[in-house]
């Protein structure tokens, strides 16, 4: 169980994370979504006690991370796959972690097997690893202590499509056995396939969170009319907000019936009227966060 309670982090005047709260329960995969610079990594580092929060708390099974006696046995963390000594071999890195956690050395080989790193790869220095291999090693490192919780920051980076598919299976399996997973990404589609819950963050704030299916259902309706200008006028009159998509249709935050009736009254011909699904969530995600991400880039 991960509990994040009103967590904030300021760097000078800049709020990197602003009053973020969410929980991740056993048996679930939580997708932590946001564009680059939204505060995902900072939040995760605060959960792991690597960055001191300005205010708020984060706990693992009710205790702050720093209070965990042997954290590796309870929570597996992969924050940056490249943050390993380039001169150590994959096996050596895992051996050091196994020694630290007081684990049997056999777990090193089991862990390597589990993430698909063979003996040749394990004997090579990390310097020679591709990003995909580093992610696999990082996952082996996180899983080494047989923890009940996983925190992974952009673990799909650098993995090939087959690797991403494999990782989804591994995480789904982990959660189905009662594990808790918090998984960040800047791509909705990447986590959509595996997450049960979503926490969407933009500009340091949580902009949406909840059950994935509910969020997808609540993400609006796609509408396309023969006369788009007429539709726009009707929607404005009805007090509904519409966001124009790249393909010319609009996403409206209302159900199909409301929109259909409004259009019928104005005698508009509709060409398309359907739930937006993940496309709508992505649209919302972009709208809610685009401004911040642009600011981030210019700042």
């Amino acid at each position: 169980m991960i509990s994040v309670d009103h967590l904030s982090k300021r760097y000078g005047a800049h709020p990197a994370v602003n009053d973020v709260s969410f929980t991740c329960g056993p048996g679930t995969v939580t997708g932590f979504l946001g564009p680059n610079g939204a505060g995902k990594s900072t939040t995760m580092r605060m959960i792991c006690g690597l960055t001191a929060p300005t205010s708020g708390t984060a706990t693992i099974d009710g205790r702050p991370y720093q209070r965990l006696a042997n954290p590796g046995r309870r929570i597996g963390v992969l924050l940056d796959a490249s943050a390993q000594h380039a001169g150590r071999t994959g096996r050596e890195i895992l051996t050091l972690a196994a020694m630290t956690q007081g684990l049997d050395r056999r777990r090193v080989d089991e862990s390597l097997d589990r993430v698909g790193l063979n003996n040749t790869a394990a004997k090579r220095r990390v310097k020679a690893y591709s990003l995909g291999m580093r992610q696999r090693l990082g996952l082996a490192y996180a899983l080494l202590g047989d923890p009940g919780i996983l925190i992974l920051d952009e673990p799909a980076n650098g993995l090939d499509p087959e690797g991403i598919f494999w990782m989804r299976g591994l995480l789904r399996d982990f959660a189905d056995r009662g594990g808790t997973v918090l998984l960040s990404s800047h791509l909705l589609r990447e986590v959509e396939a595996v997450a049960d819950r979503l926490v969407v963050i933009g500009g340091g704030r949580v902009v949406a969170q909840g059950d994935k299916d509910e969020l997808l259902a609540a993400s609006g309706t796609v509408v396309r009319a023969l006369d788009m200008a007429g539709l726009d006028a009707v929607l404005t009159r009805a007090g509904l907000t519409a966001v124009t998509s790249a393909d010319g249709s609009v996403v409206v935050q209302a159900d199909a019936e409301t929109i259909g009736r409004a259009a019928a009254q104005a005698a508009l011909v509709l060409l398309e009227l359907r739930p937006a699904g993940s496309g709508g969530l992505e649209q919302m995600f972009l709208t809610l966060t685009a401004g911040d991400s642009v600011k981030e880039a210019v700042r």
């Binding site: 792991c48 960055t51 630290t100 399996d173």
Partner: protein
């Protein structure tokens, strides 16, 4: 919980989360063993130790070939054999602290051991143990060299008091801890290594130019105050000067460095 097993994933015995609370606090012995291993498991660390060993052997050869016969005895042989270690072990100590930041391993180190102070302590203990091991190895090497000295007509005396042996060991410990303290404070390998060697030299140069600095240097220049550690005898005044300089060059940077490590954001 349902255990859904897909063939793409993993054998059941290793997959999946286990029970929550297990395993107590990680012991200091474990942490020290890990840090000892980390000193030698990279190419730079490994070769540093090899070079210290080879250089120690070279000092013995030089003594046997070039030194006057009366200096070919166990004590002078050992003091000379420890010279390379006293220069190079501190670099190992520096790297032990700085590589966590330059190689960004602090991220994984401190997620497995969130009490950063214990990691620092483990590093200090590991460095002290390496200094002890280097001294013991040098003693073994010097014993062999002394046997050869007897064979080729040198002095070959085995005279070494416990006090002398202890001081030779302390000399190693002082410099390796100084390196570690510099590493903790500066968190940057090249900077820490350059300053470690440059500052004492700068002291020596400056104190020879500025008069009042010369008096201060007698108490602060650790290269000067530690010299008696390798000599046959050491006076109480010399001990006091060593203590003062050690406080300045070891304690001070170590305390400041520990504060820095405890506070620093890891990313």
């Amino acid at each position: 919980m349902t255990a859904v097993q897909s063939p793409q994933t993993v054998p059941a015995d290793v997959a999946g989360p286990g029970p929550g609370e297990r395993a107590g606090k990680i012991s200091m012995v474990t942490l020290t063993r890990v840090e000892l291993r980390k000193l030698a498991d990279t190419r730079s660390g490994f070769w540093m130790l090899v070079v210290i060993g080879l250089a120690g052997a070279a000092t013995a050869a030089i003594m046997l070939l070039a030194a006057p016969g009366e200096e070919q005895a166990f004590q002078p042989l050992l003091a000379f054999a420890l010279l390379p270690a006293s220069v190079l072990l501190p670099v190992l100590g520096i790297l032990s602290m700085t590589s966590e930041w330059s190689q960004r391993t602090a991220l994984t180190t401190f997620t497995l051991v969130p009490e950063r102070g214990r990691v620092i302590l483990a590093k200090l203990l590991a460095c002290v143990l390496i200094a002890v091991a280097a001294t013991v190895a040098a003693a073994a090497l010097s014993a062999v060299a002394n046997l050869i000295a007897i064979g080729i007509g040198g002095d070959g005396s085995w005279h070494l008091t416990a006090d002398q042996a202890g001081r030779l060991l302390l000399n190693q410990v002082v410099f390796v801890l100084m390196g570690t303290a510099f590493g903790a404070l500066l968190m940057n390998s090249p900077l820490a290594i350059v300053l470690f060697f440059a500052i004492p030299t700068a002291w020596t140069v400056l104190s020879s130019l500025v008069k009042w600095l010369a008096t201060a240097a007698e108490w602060i220049d650790i290269n000067m105050t530690s010299t008696p550690l390798s000599q046959p005898d050491m006076s109480a005044g010399e001990w006091a000067r060593l203590a003062v300089s050690a406080a300045v060059w070891i304690l001070l940077p170590l305390v400041a460095g520990t504060v820095r490590v405890l506070r620093r954001e890891v990313n």
